[in-house]
């Protein structure tokens, strides 16, 4: 390979990705950070503002609320998608006639545009017009009727539910792949040792699927930070910015309020948070790997 690895070849092969990536991703981050130190309305000149924007972020109660909301969505999604995705994959593993059909159906929500997903769920979750409350009412369970969206508490939980609905099929398919790679022999060995179904799952399947869990968790985290249309469609971040996520709050501040500088400060803070999260994640994974 030495012979083919001339500098010129390497250069040609890497440069296209490198340039596009650097310009649109890296440079964008730098631009965002630059503007985060300014006051800018989108027109004219950006005025230097020092760290004032960041001080404001710290004091901004809407920011902390949006952070809390994002946290709720993240934690719920991690829990539900990993557990249910895993369980579903286990169920799907067993050879059955309807398996493929079920797999395809459950996967289909992830094909649909998120805006449309949001629209669908408005008609389910809206406290007045949505069918969830209507069904509860008809069933006589009036006490269970809630302000699923539009209230001050439940909205982030609903985002997690919708995210779950959309991603479950997709992620459980990934789990399925990972599970299918576990050799039969190990199960047979376990059976010989007298393990029952449950023990097999816990002591064989889970550890062997570690790599898959990693990928799924990574996908969940990146996915949560991509949630946008659900929020805008369901609640518009409201009422009064109480159900924003950090991503939507940064967007609203930038584009609706025309406070580009402050919006970019928020964006930079989000970026730093995701960096920290991914570092923590990497560290944990590295430790675990060393343990192994």
């Amino acid at each position: 390979m030495h012979w083919l690895s001339k500098k010129r070849n390497l250069f040609v092969m890497i440069v296209p990705s490198f340039v596009i990536y650097t310009v649109y991703i890296i440079a964008s981050v730098c631009i965002a950070v630059y503007y985060s130190f300014t006051k800018y309305t989108g027109i004219g000149k950006a005025a230097w503002n020092g760290i004032e924007n960041y001080v404001r972020v710290f004091h901004d109660k809407f920011f902390w609320i949006s952070l809390k909301n994002t946290g709720i969505v993240l934690i719920l999604s991690l829990l539900t998608l990993t557990i249910f995705g895993f369980l579903l994959a286990n169920v799907l593993r067993v050879k059955r006639r309807g398996n493929d059909l079920c797999k395809a159906l459950i996967f289909s929500p992830s094909i649909i545009s998120p805006i449309i997903v949001g629209i669908i769920w408005i008609y389910i979750l809206d406290p007045e017009v949505g069918i969830l409350n209507q069904i509860l009412y008809k069933l006589g369970k009036e006490g269970w009727m809630q302000m699923w969206i539009g209230g001050t508490v439940l909205s982030p939980y609903m985002y997690a539910v919708i995210f779950l609905w959309r991603q479950l099929g997709y992620l459980s398919t990934i789990f399925l792949a990972g599970l299918n790679m576990i050799p039969e022999e190990i199960y047979e060995a376990a059976e010989i040792d007298g393990a029952n179904a449950f023990q097999k799952m816990v002591y064989v399947t889970v550890p062997m699927a570690r790599n898959t869990f990693n990928i799924v968790i990574l996908l969940i985290i990146t996915g949560v930070f991509k949630i946008f249309e659900f929020v805008t469609q369901l609640t518009a971040g409201g009422p009064n910015h109480l159900s924003e996520t950090v991503v939507t709050y940064s967007y609203t501040t930038t584009f609706s309020n025309g406070e580009y500088g402050y919006g970019m400060a928020l964006a930079t803070v989000v970026f730093i948070i995701t960096l920290i999260l991914s570092e923590i994640y990497n560290l944990i994974m590295r430790d675990k790997e060393e343990e192994q």
């Binding site: 989108g42 027109i43 809206d126 007045e128 025309g258």
Partner: protein, 451 residues
């Protein structure tokens, strides 16, 4: 993937690229445009001048037919001018797109844009100063020139006489009310001059019957028009300049009284329980289908309301307040001067001429006639109702009511985007019980300080 599959896929890709190039080159704008697609570029000196018209409405023909008709009529009367309509879906998106267009040199020749952004554009030299136009069209000068020259868009005194926006529409706003709902429940509907205390009684009476008094949707943040007018009755216009100068604060007695008034309405059950999850259009539908007594809205709905409710509808300016400020017999009749002209037009004489002709037509009598046909108020002529639009007739009689005068400015139109959004948030916040009046004022003050 074997060779065959690869070949097939590359074939598909090539085909798509070909198809794509064909569609891109050959096709006309797939939307509502008339004339060729390129924006801004003048084809002057030739036969037709192409003008671009940027508007914040996704489907002009359906949603603002009067404007659409005016544009068509202009084209018919001026066969050497072609108009291309560039739409965005709402005011927010229009703002973002216009900012982007300004920075990239692709502003439409004529476009709608609110004050906050327009001011920035003007300061940066992106839009044209328009007092020159008043010399071109003396009729418009006589009709509205004085106001344009003396009152700044932000409500303060216009010291230089310069201005950079022309009227797009008149915001005549208040409450439409459904007479049938009141009749069926034996409640006296409000009339111009009803005080707040009296109105509160009406609200309580309606609430007892389980009827929503004021249909409103918090998801559409700007749909609190009647409440903007009420804010004026609590002295918004008196205070705002001093607040902007830092001499006064948004946290003041009058404003607190205003928000407390809204809070009282909320407690009396005036607003729908799902106010936070519905938007303006749903609120309108609730009213039109008889599920609410009143709708917070304005002139633009008169045609639709007339269609659904005919002469069963009345129009009310809103309650007067004992602890209000200044003349209480005022109703919102504000021009929104949101029609802007790109500065680049100035460079091109043929374009400038075409733009001026457009503006003349837009502000002219023929255009106003079209507007009245659709139950929308004219811009430079005196309105007369047609026979068929009863809703508009109701509005006109309120406009012409003795002792009542018009408010020339709507609070959220004369402030920056940040304050506008915070103001609307504050109003809806109190309506939905999320903000206390104190918090409402404070949120405004802190937004002001952050600027």
């Amino acid at each position: 993937m074997n060779k065959k599959a690869m070949k097939r896929i590359s074939g598909l890709i090539l085909a798509t690229l070909l198809l794509g190039t064909l569609t891109a080159c050959g096709g006309n704008a797939g939307g509502k445009g008339e004339g060729a697609a390129e924006d801004g570029s003048a084809e002057s000196g030739g036969d037709t001048v192409k003008l671009t018209f940027g508007i914040h409405i996704a489907d002009l023909e359906k949603q603002e037919p009067q404007t659409y008709e005016v544009l068509k009529a202009f084209e018919e009367a001026n066969p050497d001018i072609e108009l291309e309509i560039l739409s965005t879906s709402d005011a927010d998106e229009q703002g973002t797109q216009m900012k982007l267009a300004a920075e990239s040199g692709t502003l439409p020749d004529i476009f709608w844009c609110q004050y906050g952004i327009a001011k920035e554009m003007y300061d940066a030299g992106y839009i044209m100063e328009l007092s020159d136009f008043l010399e071109y069209d003396t009729r418009v000068n006589d009709a509205i020139g004085e106001q344009l020259r003396t009152v700044g868009e932000d409500g303060s005194e216009n010291e230089t006489g310069e201005f950079y926006g022309l009227p797009y529409q008149k915001l005549v706003t208040g409450f439409w009310y459904n007479k049938t709902v009141f009749e069926e429940n034996n409640i006296e509907p409000p009339h111009n001059g009803t005080t707040f205390e009296e109105f509160l009684e009406i609200v309580k009476a309606l609430n007892e019957k389980g009827i929503v008094t004021i249909s409103n949707g918090a998801k559409t943040t700007y749909s609190d028009w009647a409440f903007q007018a009420m804010f004026v009755r609590y002295g918004f216009l008196e205070h705002i300049n001093a607040i902007r100068n830092g001499e006064e604060s948004f946290v003041n007695e009058d404003f607190l009284n205003y928000f407390e008034m809204i809070d009282e309405l909320r407690e009396a059950g005036a607003f729908p329980s799902n106010i936070t999850t519905q938007d303006y259009f749903q609120a309108k539908e609730a009213f039109l289908s008889g599920n609410a007594a009143m709708l917070d809205s304005g002139q633009w709905d008169s045609a639709e309301i007339n269609e659904r409710l005919g002469d069963q509808v009345g129009f009310w300016w809103g309650p007067t307040f004992e602890n209000g400020v200044g003349d209480q017999n005022v109703g919102m009749q504000a021009f929104t001067n949101n029609l802007r002209v790109s500065a680049e037009v100035e460079e091109d004489q043929a374009k400038k001429d075409a733009v001026y002709r457009f503006l003349s037509f837009w502000l002219g009598e023929e255009a106003d006639k079209i507007r009245v046909q659709y139950g929308v108020n004219p811009l430079t002529t005196v309105p007369e109702a047609g026979e068929d639009n009863k809703a508009y007739a109701a509005m006109l009689s309120a406009m012409n009511e003795e002792g009542w005068s018009g408010i020339p400015l709507q609070p959220d139109q004369i402030v920056t985007d940040v304050i506008k959004n915070t103001l609307n948030d504050a109003i809806y916040g109190v309506m939905s019980g999320i903000y206390s009046p104190q918090e409402a004022c404070e949120s405004l003050q802190s937004a002001q300080e952050n600027q």
